[in-house]
Symmetry: C2
Subunit: 579 residues, 2 copies
């Protein structure tokens, strides 16, 4: 589910169908709540893993190779296997470590597996998911950033009720025709029927705006800028997907009112810039800022801007977050007026804007690899994991102490670091485990490192290993984390850029679409033409639609024609299938 | 509604009835959502207030009196009224400023009025309230404190779904008999009936513990410490009261599992201490830490500890927050077992603990006065309001600049300060308005202050005025805010102490109850006896019950008898009516 526009909740059923075949592998697992079955399902996890043997640790050849590639001094640990020499594949099966599918081979299944590794727990109600601490921490980091930024803009937090009465909901019926099927209704409390059924908010325009009408009297009450962090419910029936489309999700929704359109316009872009920063600076996911088409804009609003991401593996666009100018339509509907300085009654101009836990799904899809998740350092609750690599009777206590000292030094410098001193797992098992969890940087400390007063760092994003003198640990690690953050963004951007295809004709469009491209096309900007494109591309893998018209427009030479209608083109627009 | 124990949601209907007569004035107003009526309801607010004349400002005599009382240099501003000289009472009526009832005369109505002044907006669904920014900011400040503290304890945040399937809910039926009537059920989405109705969480034990059973395998998975910040719903029908008893409220709920009872016991008290600190250090509300009786403990738990506040005006105790040791009952029910170091399967020990937005209601009740709210500095989103007091053609711009400079200086020092430079309100109106909102400290700057390079401070808690040299502004204000925080706590504590009455006999008990005392009585600690006391005190204003047995026990001389049963007393216990 896309939480961020009403477009998604107002009837684009065709769009939803599109996603169907792609995400078959993602269909929500209805976890049977038989406790016994749960026990069996993961009973192997903590016990049988013990016999797994230092997988990564063993692969000396690879180490040499990587170190050579990075031009760094190679460190060859002498530690050999401490147990049976099972092959990696067998071990995966036995321990649950590792993924059973590759990202390129079965993206849907891959995504589901990665999510299940401590990010999400599937719940016994389809379409609902448990956000485990590993993903919740990411949400909180983004929240801290965004909340501070909007407070600088004088936005204030509030909390409106979860429930909406049908009278208020109906007030909006022209605007939310397609949205009614997704509303969850409370009809009973205990064994009694409620006198009137009560809806659960799918978004809060109808919840809030009657009170805006009450609170806003004169021009001095403007601007009114409120935000809330909350859960919303959209009871969708198709293709639940962790983070990306769930029946309940967490988001923030900002609702603001201004005296003038200029102020509203300005805020729309300020917020959009914050959304860009969340994606690009925090999640290291490149996005395009742009304007939604008339077909795709927020129903009832004046115009919608969005940040759009793209998933190369599926060739689908994904709407990252939206900032809407609602114009005066809602003000009219809810009679939100103010008295201006001359005593005239005027209608306010309104915006609404939201981003949701969907952000986390986009991040996973963008960066994850066949080893699991890769977290950008800025949102990782653990940025560095420190793992002791003891060997026989070498100075084990010394190694453990060095690990602890390393974590202390990093923590003091504000780096989120953790040690993994568990004695029932081999270093190799730990490597795989923390790789699966996506921790950006691993530090290994073995006897040789102790001897040389150094630590070994291993980057999660590109596997590069480096030996760092303990004396300059903090600076080195800070620098590395910044490099990782930057590199993740650059790599993702390159991958996306490689998918962009500028086309001019219908034939080029269709062939680019089949190649899962992010299509940039000259367009006449007519609603009818977009509808026509949708109709003509409808099929198993879904119809193509506009994603956005980027604010940064390439040159459009005079005489350029629309790829679809042959009429004069007005702008360049991104097209593609989408989530 | 008391969000913090199941006791409240599991059948103490008698207790709820108690609150009835007291809080008649608090019954939720069902706001008709006719927009027109909303318009009329508050139309006078922003416009007609303009003719209000510097109320406080005018009251020179009072100023002299106060300044004299505080031994400080008196500053008499020469500014006279700038408009008609209406009496305060008339003005109140006309502008909506001020309260129509006194705290001592009609506490229920008083509370409702104070809440409605920017803390709460009544909603069109009874029992649901809008938390406006003024109250939300208080919640956020407490949240920041508590969240950081539990993270130090290695508690991790997560988010579990809002919905519970009936199968899981029924698993608990022995424990939640009385709770079923308050569960809200979703039975429809759009126009379709759901195959199975789905419950909305009233608390999350049943939501979470099936997954604890899955996640906890071995002793290394312990302790498991999770917390979530979320909304919960309890569809109660009696006496909704803002903050204190609402159908939806915000809270945190912590759910932890340990290998040993000792660890669980220790955490119960660690958390309880945090709750005490929220009340005493942040909200300046004195509380008693203690143990709940068998009758009043969390149903299904082993024992319940709580912090208990007391509202002298109504003579009612109010359970502030609870920290429960669940023992192994839930572990048994949900099969939450771990393999210990010897390979034996053992059951975990569990705790759960919660505090809710009820805290804010207790604070309002404790500190508010006939002028409105009084906020303790530590939780006030605006700690200092700076108000210019211009006079005729005196250096108005200079005064405004001084206000702005004052706010800058305070803000830079980390003090939450705001200026009120609105030119359509008189200083007097502003004084009343910010007093109503409870801002702890007001700073006034007039021509004389400018001349003397000073500002005038006025404390909200006791009205004391002081002239402060601008040179030592920041230190003075910091000191004042600390004094206010401390004084509010001391005053509240004295008021509560004045209500405590130690009794020995049934007659003393009854007469103390009639005098709205917080009764400390020697008790035999038998469930039957507590039930008997409840039955014997049942009436219009509700039955008395145990509040808690304080951890700090006065001496109990041998031979002391239970006030109710005449059997040997085992402990001192607080008794009273309660919210």
């Amino acid at each position: 589910m896309s939480p961020n526009t009403w477009r998604d909740i107002s009837g684009c059923s065709s769009v939803r169908k599109l996603a169907k075949s792609e995400s078959k592998g993602l269909q929500a697992v209805t976890v049977s709540l038989s406790i016994r079955s749960l026990l069996f399902a993961s009973a192997f996890f903590s016990s049988s893993a013990i016999c797994l043997n230092r997988l990564t640790y063993l692969k000396k050849e690879e180490r040499v190779e990587m170190a050579g590639a990075s031009g760094k001094k190679e460190k060859v640990d002498k530690a050999g296997p401490s147990g049976g020499g099972k092959k990696k594949k067998d071990v995966k099966k036995e321990t649950g470590l590792g993924l059973s599918v590759k990202k390129d081979e079965n993206f849907g299944e891959w995504y589901s597996e990665v999510c299940k590794h401590e990010m999400i727990e599937y719940y016994d109600i389809s379409g609902c998911y448990i956000l485990r601490p590993w993903s919740m921490a990411i949400w909180e980091i983004m929240q801290t950033f965004f909340d501070a930024e909007i407070k600088k803009m004088k936005v204030k937090n509030c909390y409106f009720p979860l429930f909406v009465s049908p009278g208020v909901l109906e007030k909006e019926k022209d605007h939310i025709e397609g949205f009614a099927p997704e509303v969850a209704w409370v009809t009973k409390s205990g064994k009694s029927d409620l006198e009137v059924p009560i809806a659960i908010r799918p978004t809060s325009e109808t919840v809030m705006y009657p009170y805006y009408s009450k609170w806003i009297r004169g021009h001095r009450d403007l601007p009114l800028k409120l935000n809330q962090w909350c859960n919303v419910v959209r009871w969708e029936f198709s293709n639940p997907t962790p983070f990306i489309r769930s029946r309940e999700f967490l988001w923030q929704e900002g609702h603001t009112a201004f005296a003038t359109k200029e102020e509203a316009d300005e805020e729309v872009l300020q917020i959009l810039e914050l959304y860009r920063r969340i994606y690009e600076e925090y999640l290291a996911v490149p996005v395009v800022k742009g304007m939604k088409s008339e077909n795709e804009k927020f129903a009832g609003g004046l115009y919608t801007t969005s940040v759009e991401a793209f998933i190369p593996n599926t060739g689908r666009g994904v709407q990252g977050a939206t900032s809407h100018c609602l114009g005066q339509n809602f003000a009219k509907m809810f009679e939100i007026r103010y008295e201006d300085e001359e005593g005239k009654r005027e209608m306010v101009w309104q915006n609404s804007w939201a981003y949701s836990t969907r952000t986390i799904g986009v991040m996973i899809m963008t960066h994850g690899d066949d080893k699991g998740l890769i977290l950008p350092p800025k949102v990782a609750s653990v940025q560095v994991v420190v793992i002791p690599v003891p060997y026989k009777d070498a100075n084990t206590q010394g190694i453990f102490d060095a690990c602890t000292a390393t974590v202390s030094a990093l923590s003091e410098a504000g780096i989120r670091a953790e040690e993994d001193l568990r004695d029932n797992y081999s270093p190799g098992w730990k490597y795989s485990n923390w790789e699966m969890k996506g921790v950006p940087l691993r530090i290994e400390i073995g006897p040789r490192d102790l001897e040389n007063d150094q630590v070994r760092t291993v980057r999660r994003d590109n596997g590069v290993k480096e030996d760092i003198p303990r004396g300059s640990l903090v600076e080195h690690v800070k620098e590395l984390l910044e490099k990782i953050q930057q590199n993740m963004y650059e790599v993702a951007k390159q991958k996306r850029e490689a998918c962009v295809q500028e086309i001019r004709t219908w034939d080029e469009f269709i062939s680019a679409l089949n190649l899962k491209k992010l299509i940039l096309a000259p367009w006449c900007d007519e609603e009818e033409v977009e509808r026509d494109v949708k109709a003509r591309t409808k099929g198993e893998t879904g119809a193509a639609k506009t994603l956005c018209s980027p604010f940064e427009q390439p040159e459009l030479p005079e005489g350029t024609l629309c790829f679809a209608s042959g009429k004069p083109a007005k702008k360049w627009t991104y097209w593609g299938r989408s989530y």
